[in-house]
Assembly symmetry: C2
Homo-oligomer: 329 residues x 2
């Protein structure tokens, strides 16, 4: 029985549509190979937050689309989650991560072969859902460009691994690609498929981008402030793998001499080194400063949402964004 | 300087168009990350046979398309090679292959991370080239289904690894997906984009499928009859990895008791075991029988090509297919 993350209990309308998206994803990934089919079902049942289709659906409801568009909206909304799942699975191959969302990762449980093919299968399903949703090749092309930008963000992050000269601009470029791009696409496509007024379509992209940036920054901050239990995933993993995110980058900017000796240990960072690093981040105010920067992006997103024309679903969009960007999980 | 495989020196018209496809692929994969960009260039320069775009181009020339369609034809023809390259790179991650086309594989040279992302980037470029080539979402959808079938063929092969009860039907199903599907698509799309008469479009799929099946069977036979030097890749690799192809399957069908003791050694097969296996394949006539089966498919393809309406490029199509399916390289 497919369920959504409990956060959606407070948004029953969105929840019902998200369940339709999940059922469609399972239908489209039903194949003869039961191991791969089950891999997708396990991922779906691990109750990710479904933020990309949720933002798609919320924007779509601000528009003038009639019931006729329902199937297309479900299909295109589902496609955003499918691309997200594909990138998660392929990222876990690269990170050699053992855990994701409180469960073993696909590659840890089923091996690299299943992980590579399941990711590839999901990319084909991503374009299949899009082609089911639209007669416009321009929308397909928009998605190929978005997928490319997501990958370039990931690749940019990979290039900067263990780079202690990484700048805030490098970081922003990576997260605009790897995370914000898909939020931007989801908000825009929601507005497009929901046949919103041009002014909403026009604002949808930058709202999505600001939400995506704030979301990733917050995620990166939580990696230094939460426990594995509260996040259902390991913490302090990025730094060991040489992925320096916002708090560390702020530390390197202002207290490079203090951070370098720890960072230079690379993969050899011990538990006590990690504890020292976390203390240092707090002492140098990096966590607090990172929170302020993240807040500046979430404030921008909320301010833009606030200017959208009045609509019952606008409040849901605002309150979801507010909750999401002040979360501790 | 991009060059094609020397086999195309005998087909200068096709060669010129193939070079345009390669240049377009390089253009579309020009990105800021030089390692990944170079990875694609290296693959292109390793001079694969470019069979999929070649069949696309040959079929397109049997049609009525004018010069106006030239760019679209180049773009769609290039897309078939790009999907092929993406699957090669991802397959090498799974096989942990060290060599391909006489060069180190992407993952062996650059690591798994570059291999995963380069494959994914190529999948996005595949759909980008298609979206550049057509206004028809149906063509995009045809490609999502083809890509899915290619993957299902690969997945089916993975499922049967070390399965000594594998049947000829299992094998045929795998190669129809993993290889023949893309030949079928290339011939069909060539006929479609070249605006061929309906009778040619109608035959293009089955010609492509028969060529693809014969091509893969021949490839699998060469693995047991050639040297690493003549093929520019390692030989006898499949059987160690538990991938039982046509010759072995014929052996298991008729002389199971003779093959089982060797196959049961799995990854532990020594050089002398492999030599014994090759001798056994010859003694039990499996190589010869496999050649006959492959020939039945190439004969079907050639007979269908023969029935196509008379056209200067028809002879090139026939002679390429004849050469390709009787090759020893």
């Amino acid at each position: 029985m497919v369920k959504t993350h409990p956060m959606w209990n407070d948004f029953p309308n969105v929840q019902a549509s998200l369940l339709e998206c999940l059922e469609l994803i399972i239908e489209k990934t039903t194949i003869e190979n039961k191991e791969i089919e089950q891999t997708v079902i396990d991922l779906i049942e691990s109750q990710g937050k479904l933020l990309r289709p949720a933002y798609f659906l919320l924007f779509s409801r601000l528009g003038n689309a009639t019931q006729d568009a329902h199937k297309r909206i479900t299909s295109a909304a589902a496609s955003t989650e499918v691309l997200h799942l594909a990138t998660l699975i392929h990222d876990d191959i690269i990170d050699e991560s053992a855990m994701r969302r409180g469960s073993e990762t696909v590659q840890s449980k089923h091996g690299k072969d299943v992980a590579v093919y399941t990711g590839d299968l999901l990319i084909s399903v991503y374009f299949e859902l899009l082609a089911d949703a639209t007669d416009s090749v321009d929308i397909i092309q928009l998605n190929t460009q978005s997928m490319k930008r997501v990958l370039l963000g990931e690749i940019n992050q990979m290039t900067n691994v263990y780079n202690t000269d990484i700048t805030y601009e490098d970081y922003l470029k990576s997260i605009k690609g790897k995370t914000a791009q898909l939020f931007e696409l989801s908000c825009y496509e929601g507005a497009y498929f929901g046949q919103c007024d041009p002014e909403i379509i026009g604002q949808s992209r930058s709202i999505g981008q600001n939400i995506g940036i704030a979301f990733q920054m917050l995620d990166d901050i939580l990696d230094y402030t939460q426990t594995p239990e509260s996040l259902s995933k390991p913490v302090l993993n990025d730094v060991k793998q040489g992925i320096y995110t916002l708090p560390i980058i702020l530390g390197l900017e202002t207290h490079k001499e203090a951070f370098l000796p720890l960072l230079k240990k690379g993969e050899q960072l011990s538990e006590s080194d990690l504890a020292a690093l976390v203390s240092l981040l707090h002492e140098t105010n990096c966590i607090e400063r990172a929170r302020e920067i993240a807040k500046s992006y979430s404030d921008k997103a909320l301010a833009s949402i606030d200017t959208l024309p009045s609509h019952p679903e606008k409040d849901a969009l605002y309150s979801l964004t507010k909750t999401l960007l002040t979360r501790h999980y």
